[in-house]
Amino acid sequence: MTDTVKVATRAPEALQELELGDSFSFDELVSAVEHRRGRPLRIVELADLSDRDGICALWFGTDAEDLVVHTRSVSALHRQQFVLHELAHIILDHGHDDDLDGADQLLPDIAPATRRRLLRRQDLVTADEIAAESLADHLAAAIRGSVMHESKYLEIFG
């Protein structure tokens, strides 16, 4: 199997593994990720994050929690994509082999010992970044689906 095919097919498989169905709300997705990881997930906005080389968001996991930090954006859809991209990294279990040097500059107050993994949405050039962005697109589509379904009533009668 080529790398192209691998990256393209990983997202639908990961989406299936979440067992949330074809459509779900953002909150349901966060709950599913928290349940899967067995730890809380915090999402925090950091206004000046993008001043650093165009970084939109980053995720770092500690033993106690997962933290997603994203930059400020006037666009709710863009903001959602930042977070979904980081959630995709978590779902795809990325970040085992990452060099954490960059994290020292971004988050100097976090001790390396407490920081397990760190990934950031910046340039989408590596296989992991492309896979995460692709899964984020799928997650966004599923969230759009939940907007269309609106309620259980319309799911059954509509």
Binding site: F26, L77, H78, R79, Q81, S134, A140, S151, F157
Partner: protein, 335 residues
Amino acid sequence: MTQVIVSTLLWLLVASLLILRRGRTDRSILLSALTIAVAMTLNIDGLYRWVDRLLGGTNLVTLAADLALMLGIFFLGRAVAKATEYRPRIVRFALGRVVLAVALVCTVVAFAFIDRGVTTTTLMLDFGAQPAAAVYSMTQFAYDAIVLTAMAAVTTRQIRRGRGVDRLPAVSLVIGSALGLVLAAVVIAMDVAHLAGNISLMRGFGAAYSPLFLSTFLFLCAGLASQPAIRWMRARSRASATRRLVSQTTPIWQRANLVRPGMSQQDAAGFSAADPETRLHRQLVEIRDAAVDPRVSFELSDAESVIVEAAEEHLLGRGAGAGSSSSGLATRATP
């Protein structure tokens, strides 16, 4: 004639559900409509006589049709139960398999005790004075009344939640359920009057039977068919808006990709632009990525901003005619 009209209505409902709910996972309403359509068709006089003669001429077709009707009502109840988040134990029990099983057993046993004679299309008028026939009829209509009460409660909640034209199907279902409840009460009153030997009272109630029967199914079918029809029209309207927004944002996206190539330009991503919503989403993300990246020079004009914002509102479900957004991020992630 009433049976022919009702059967036609139900088969039209089945056809519309097959078309408008194509690809949907939940089949409760389709199963319900299909089973009730079979029940009503079996009650058309000519067909009834023909099939009953094949089965020995002892009115077994009445039992088959009525059991099919109860099964159809059960599927309807199951749909109602799935459609509401508010499900107290008593409602779950009433709409569950145990009550159906008890009702089916009571119906079959009561039917077995009716001295039924030969094929007749007016079984209850001919034999309704027998206690077994009264129990047979009352059991079915009591079960129907339970499900229709739940249906009325759920659809009333939906009327309060909906707005504009969205309310019409639920209003139709509430009216249909209410008429069905009156019909059940009228039938039970006819059974009691017949059992008591008060034929004039029974005929008095009987005058309301056909109009109630017809109007119940008319409103229920209209409600069940119009809900997916409205949804289908809304989906078509949304698809058309999506295609328009894709063409409006494409020049902006192409300009953004010149300064900051996005994931859609990566071969490894295997990005497919076949679905217009997926394509619009990707284009918007890449436009916004370019706009916030301090390493590149990319700005949106006022006119472009209006287009991009309209497209984002559309995708988030906040555009005209769309429901509220379920992204949930605004409350979780922003201060």
